[in-house]
Subunit: 282 residues, 2 copies
């Protein structure tokens, strides 16, 4: 129990927060999960930019500078002995009066943790991920769709559904039946050399890895089309993959009985290779 | 700071929880707010039943019996010197491995607090509540719509919108444009002696007070129609009122420029009077 965390700028081994924090009471907060390679955070600026956009939406003051988080991660990684791992930054509205009102709340609470991650076992990437359909549709009209909030229960339930179905991740559709995302991943598929991914208008979380992979693909001369696509387009694709910050780029080798046991495709291989060659601030 | 709370069955003045609790990290929990009159909880059984239904949806084990909560509230009310107040019961999935997965989580965390409430100042009830339209539509297809979860950020934002518009509460519509609810209230309106309220199919939280008021109305021989109704029906009503456990039954005297400054109607007066006469377990 000697793990150190940072709470409101202070390094401590006492990882506890007030039970009247609105993060605990009302899911009134945001978070980011940032991968660490060799003790160095990857794409930290992109993660903090997304958190700032979310904070503006929530009318939440951001009580730290980018440098505070960079320094904090480096310090926690060193003191906790983490090289390959994940930092999690949580920002909440802090303590406030009873009820939903945001007046009189704060100052915000922020928590930074750095923990080791086990790399994927050999062969796991090649086996790929399976997707199971989710009964919980994504609501593209929610203003919160684009923010990585701690009101994450719909994502939790989508993930639980997928696991219960024996799959690795979910395939969630929008309320009008187009492909949206998984529980914790963005989705891509390729057909005839073109890459497709649901647009932000589909209510997806704008993934940091999604943006990087799109940019890498464009750099390789691959057309990336964002839009609203029915699931038949994914099922009929040449290859499918999922992205998130910790998973990086993971081939999808089965989805709801389609392309079962398919091997990782050439685009997944090429883009993942390019991704792993990126410097920390790509 | 001598306020006592109960955490996982233990009375303590140390109201802190682990920063790795999924209630804090992912809004992965449920809550109930129970009013106290003369130190005695009102409609506790109804609140606990709703939490149990929510827990089944979340696949969350309920780690307490009804009697534990009743005893806990009585004890906290006495030791904190609360007669007119509110108990809040929060139940979360507890601590778990990184990510959204629910496997390996728990045991659940539960927190019980009892705090005083200030009664409404004289004349406040007669002045009534104003409603401002919400841009955040209610998604009736969310399986979480019927559960009082701690992933409450949409409700928080609806309330903030209403306050920014100078109103007391929100008027949120469903995605297809029918009346749903406020941020923290259910809505009723009367026309030609019949009472109307959005049905659960509209994605509303099934309010404990809503159910009691419906029953009281039926007892008085008033027809209560539940359904999907466009906002014009509310705007054109003879009277409108809002319900929740702490507010009880509050007249609505203005909504988006309609019936501005209207006095509380006869049904609001009669039903509120009947409500206040109810014994603790009505």
């Amino acid at each position: 129990m000697s793990e150190l965390v940072i709470i409101n700028g202070v390094e401590t081994a006492e990882a506890r927060i007030g039970a009247d924090d609105r993060g605990f009471l009302l899911g009134d907060g945001l978070f980011e999960t940032i991968p660490l390679y060799g003790g160095i955070p990857f794409a930290l600026t992109d993660h903090l930019s997304r958190m700032r956009r979310g904070a503006a939406l929530l009318e939440l003051a951001v009580p730290f500078a980018c440098g505070d988080i960079a320094d904090g991660i480096t310090s926690l990684a060193r003191r906790n002995g983490v090289t390959r791992g994940a930092a999690r930054l949580t920002l909440t509205r802090g303590v406030g009066p009873r009820g939903y009102g945001i007046e009189g709340c704060g100052p915000p609470t922020w928590l930074l943790t750095v923990r080791p991650c086990t790399p994927l076992p050999a062969g796991r990437w090649e086996r790929g991920y399976t997707l199971a359909p989710s009964r919980i549709a994504v609501n593209p009209r929610s203003p919160l769709a684009s923010a990585k909030t701690t009101s994450a229960l719909e994502r939790v339930l989508r993930f639980a559904e997928a696991r219960r179905a024996g799959a690795d991740e979910a395939l969630a559709l929008t309320l009008d039946g187009n492909v949206a995302c998984g529980a914790a991943v963005n989705l891509f598929w390729a057909r005839g050399g073109t890459l497709y991914t649901p647009s932000e208008a589909c209510g997806i979380l704008p993934g940091v890895t999604r943006a990087i992979v799109s940019r890498l693909a464009a750099d390789e001369g691959i057309t990336v089309r964002e839009g609203a696509f029915p699931p038949a387009e994914l099922y009929g694709a040449d290859e499918v993959f999922a992205t998130n910050s910790l998973l990086e780029l993971m081939p999808v080798t089965a989805a709801q009985g389609h392309f079962t046991g398919k091997a990782p495709g050439p685009l997944a291989r090429a883009l993942h290779k390019r991704y792993r060659e990126l410097p920390p601030e790509a």
